[in-house]
């Protein structure tokens, strides 16, 4: 089977697994929904079949087991419970791993554990696909789905050991090295720092000291080594070489090396183990303690540390490990993410028709010039202009894809995070059919994810806090999208505790962002959240808040020529609104002249144009009436906005522009006409200029700037 077929399979399977995940999320809320169970079953059935055809044997085999589970749900033999959904989700994650691994993927320990659980729940797979599992005991009891959470997780996401099984060259694997020297190590002349230094030369290291064995000062023997270290290393060398570093001290210390990430597995959500699992595996906690903490339904690390079961340092170090492995997997996912777009047939048909017309027109043009008959050329040029603009629209529409897929991927995020934090949160979305440029959507994912994480972590309160405030225990997060002119608005609303302006104020003063005596407005205060390094939570959790965050969101969105706004009310909730341009490439615009330069105004903001017979400036009137609607509008002299000297001609023109919030008449010298602007982004030397959002090249080769109408309107609204 060739690479092209694999690429197609990769895309299809990814879509099917996405759909499966959506269905599972849905089933969690409505376990009785037979249609959804059918859909999930069908998805799996298709995956199984396609995997078999394309030649992913392990995938095909494994999906058969999962399919059996859904078959039993379908017939009502197996109830849909939280645990079966957990199992199915873990299994679908494993399928994703197998998909990334490729056709030669073999069953990992994770897979074996999952398969065992599946068989336990639904009985061994019958018939065709299961040839190699025939030896499995047929008498396993079914229905015992209520395994302990620890057992579930450790088997579902356990380490994929077997370091050299299918490790290919060039991929860095990540190991955890636990090194605990015996107290006498120093007296033998060994220097643990040197050893750690040697490890550092082998790869990227995160080093955490283990201080739990350090005695009180009175009992401390300064010649003994009381420290241990946990080192998470990402390296190209194998486990034996790591072991070799410690060869001379191995007899005088406890050394454990464990593979955390083999450089291959890759998970849709880049989820790594939960904190509890990491601490458990490292031996910092035992099984009993883990269960007790899980029962608390608070962030795991915080509870463990508060109870004094583990030190803060252990939790920090486990958090670092979690982040590192997550980051690695995310990186790999990006590298693999397919670069294809599915295009509805009718869009392609349109395109083909337009190209057909273009060919005809071109023939006409050749004919006219060959005959030296130039009478027709004017008409051809006109036709060509029309055709070009239709061709442009049609081509751009191919790059537009609905936001629905992006939205639905947040269901899983919210579910997992809220469980980890012990919160109950219901996520709803609307406007998923709103379309955006595929490239834009790709760049939006991270900022949106961050906003949603913030809402889950900082926005929605713990259940008892909500109960105490007479709010429904279940928090609501709503993501919606709607088109607004040339932009799309995306809002993330939560009904959580809202932003605490006093705390933001205090924090801003502390950080020196505003002088102590200042009284900024609420909006201005919210704006401070976007400053680098601003964060009002003092403790970092693994979910959000490490001092980077909203500033990155803002930067990413502004790179897309968009904007971010926050609105919030204490104990009612917070809304974050992103304003994103539909496409980055070409806009319909109005070309205007002011002074010696021409400028471009995005046509989608323009309501009407008219000639100003009398100069409103002369009369010192602050408003002008719309010719169409009679509406009285403030006017803005672009000469003063753009610092252009002189008064301009006697008779000038007004363009009425506006969005929902603001409307004004912009005064320009002359309106040249409509123009299709190919947008050129501004480079770093000019990006700070608020009045322009980009530039374009005119027919005569000169550069013209695109006026940022939204920012100009907002600036006059502030000064007015």
């Amino acid at each position: 089977m060739n690479d092209a077929a694999h690429a197609v399979f990769y895309d299809e399977a990814t879509e099917l697994l996405d759909a499966l995940e959506r269905d599972l999320m849905h089933l969690e809320n409505e376990p009785e929904d037979a249609d959804t169970i059918h859909n999930a079953f069908r998805s799996l059935h298709t995956i199984k079949g396609a995997a078999g055809v394309v030649g992913f044997p392990e995938m095909s085999r494994f999906s058969h087991g999962l399919e059996t589970l859904f078959d039993r749900m379908r017939t009502g033999e197996q109830p849909v419970t939280r645990d079966t959904i957990d199992l199915a989700l873990a299994a679908s994650d494993y399928l994703r791993d197998l998909l990334v691994e490729g056709p030669e993927a073999e069953e990992t320990e994770t897979g074996a554990a999952l398969r065992a659980r599946l068989e336990e729940v639904s009985g061994p797979p019958a018939g065709a696909a299961g040839g190699r599992h025939d030896a499995v005991d047929q008498g396993t009891t079914e229905g015992d789905a209520a395994g302990s959470p620890v057992a579930d997780n450790s088997s579902a996401a356990g380490p994929t050991v077997g370091a050299d099984g299918n490790k290919s060259l060039g991929r860095a694997a990540t190991y955890r090295v636990r090194f605990k020297p015996q107290p006498s190590l120093l007296t033998r002349g060994a220097d643990p720092l040197r050893l750690i230094g040697e490890l550092r030369e082998l790869g990227d290291c995160l080093v955490f000291p283990v201080v739990s064995a350090v005695p009180d000062l009175t009992e401390l023997n300064p010649e003994h080594c009381h420290l241990g270290w946990t080192i998470v290393i990402t390296t190209h060398v194998d486990e034996n070489e790591l072991r070799d570093v410690f060869i001379f001290v191995e007899d005088y210390s406890d050394l454990e090396i464990e593979l955390l990430d083999d450089g291959q597995s890759e998970d849709e959500n880049a989820d790594y183990k939960r904190i509890g699992e990491i601490l458990y595996e490292r031996g910092d906690l035992d099984d009993h303690e883990v269960r007790q903490i899980l029962a608390e339904r608070e962030p795991f690390g915080a509870v463990a540390a508060n109870r004094g079961l583990v030190t803060k340092g252990s939790v920090e170090s486990a958090l670092e490990e979690q982040n590192l492995v997550r980051k690695l997997r995310e990186g790999r996912r990006e590298a693999l993410a397919s670069n294809t777009t599915r295009v509805p047939n009718h869009k392609l048909d349109d395109l083909v028709n337009l190209v057909g017309e273009l060919v005809t027109l071109q023939a006409r043009l050749s004919q006219s010039t060959a005959d030296d008959d130039l009478r027709d050329v004017g008409g051809i040029a006109e036709n060509l202009e029309l055709l070009t603009s239709r061709l442009r629209e049609s081509t751009m529409s191919i790059r537009l894809v609905p936001l629905a897929d992006t939205f639905s991927s947040f269901h899983r995020l919210v579910r997992d995070l809220s469980r980890e934090l012990g919160k109950e949160i219901h996520l709803t979305t609307s406007g998923g059919d709103t379309e955006l440029d595929k490239n834009v959507i790709g760049l939006l994912r991270d900022p949106l994810m961050h906003i949603v994480r913030n809402a889950v972590d900082h926005g929605i309160e713990q259940p008892d806090e909500r109960r105490a405030n007479d709010k429904p225990v279940r928090g609501e997060i709503h993501i919606e999208a709607e088109p607004a002119g040339a932009d799309v608005l995306i809002r993330v609303t939560d009904d959580g505790r809202g932003l605490d302006s006093e705390r933001i104020h205090a924090r801003a003063v502390e950080r020196g962002l505003i002088p102590p005596g200042a009284h900024p407005s609420r909006q201005e205060l919210y704006g401070l959240i976007f400053q680098p390094g601003f964060s009002t939570t003092t403790t970092a959790t693994d979910v959000s808040g490490r001092g980077v965050g909203m500033d990155v969101v803002k930067k990413n969105v502004e790179n897309l020529s968009g904007g971010v706004e926050i609105d919030s009310e204490v104990s009612v909730g917070t809304t974050v609104t992103l304003r994103i341009p539909l496409t980055l490439a070409i806009i319909d615009s109005l070309l205007v002249e002011i002074g010696e330069e021409r400028y471009v105004v995005n046509l989608s903001y323009v309501d009407e144009c008219f000639i100003l017979r009398e100069d409103p400036l002369a009369g010192r009137k602050a408003t002008v009436a719309s010719r169409n609607t009679g509406e009285v509008l403030p006017f803005v002299d672009l000469r003063s906005v753009l610092d252009i000297p002189d008064r301009g001609p006697e008779i000038r023109n007004a363009i009425v522009v506006g969005d929902d919030d603001h409307k004004a008449a912009l005064v320009v010298d002359r309106i040249v006409g409509q123009y299709q602007s190919v947008i050129k982004n501004l480079d770093a030397t000019l990006r700070d200029i608020d009045e322009v959002s980009g530039s374009t090249i005119l027919g005569n080769g000169r550069v013209a700037f695109i006026l940022d109408v939204v920012k100009i309107l907002r600036s006059i609204a502030v000064t007015a």
């Binding site: 010696e596 330069e597 906005v641 753009l642 610092d643 252009i644 050129k680 501004l682 480079d683 770093a684 030397t685 000019l686 700070d688 200029i689 608020d690 009045e691 322009v692 530039s695 090249i697 080769g701 000169r702 550069v703 013209a704 700037f705």
Partner: protein
């Protein structure tokens, strides 16, 4: 920034002052063309030009150094600069482009020549030509947005 560069340099004149840029930073030279004014930009940014579809910011060095150039410029030197982690092209206005010269460590001093208009924060070093001193510019520093100079 602290190392004095060596190798080949493109030299050019603005008024009576000689300047130089390391050839690895220079992408092309051209005659001045229609410059579009940038609204609200600092004075040393004269505007932008279109170079084969790329919009390039054009800078006026004398204004950057705090004085006004007399007469019309004739040439633009297009150079690459790094701003943060972004690589940008910038045009530098000049009266004439003179030579490509080789400067070794022996020809270079770190201190700016007395009487030069350039501030030392924009200067990598000063080279000695047969009959004059030449100021080797730090193009990254020239482009960096520290507002106007002095």
């Amino acid at each position: 920034m602290s190392t004095v560069p060596q190798g080949e340099f493109l030299t050019f004149k603005i008024g009576e002052d000689h300047y130089a840029l390391h050839v690895s930073r220079v992408t092309e030279t051209m005659q001045t063309t229609a410059i579009t004014r940038v609204p609200k930009a600092p004075a040393h940014i004269r505007g932008v030009v279109n170079i084969r579809g790329t919009v390039v910011t054009v800078m006026d060095l004398p204004r950057r150094f705090g004085y006004e150039h007399e007469g019309e410029y004739t040439s633009i030197i297009v150079a690459e600069a790094e701003v943060g982690d972004e690589r940008v092209s910038v045009g530098i206005l000049a009266d004439s482009i003179t030579h490509v010269v080789r400067l070794t460590g022996d020809d270079m001093e770190k201190l700016p020549a007395v009487g030069s208009h350039a501030d030392c924060e924009y200067v990598l070093g000063v080279g000695k030509l047969e009959d004059a001193f030449v100021v080797v510019l730090d193009v990254d520093a020239v482009v960096k947005k520290t507002g106007d100079c002095r």
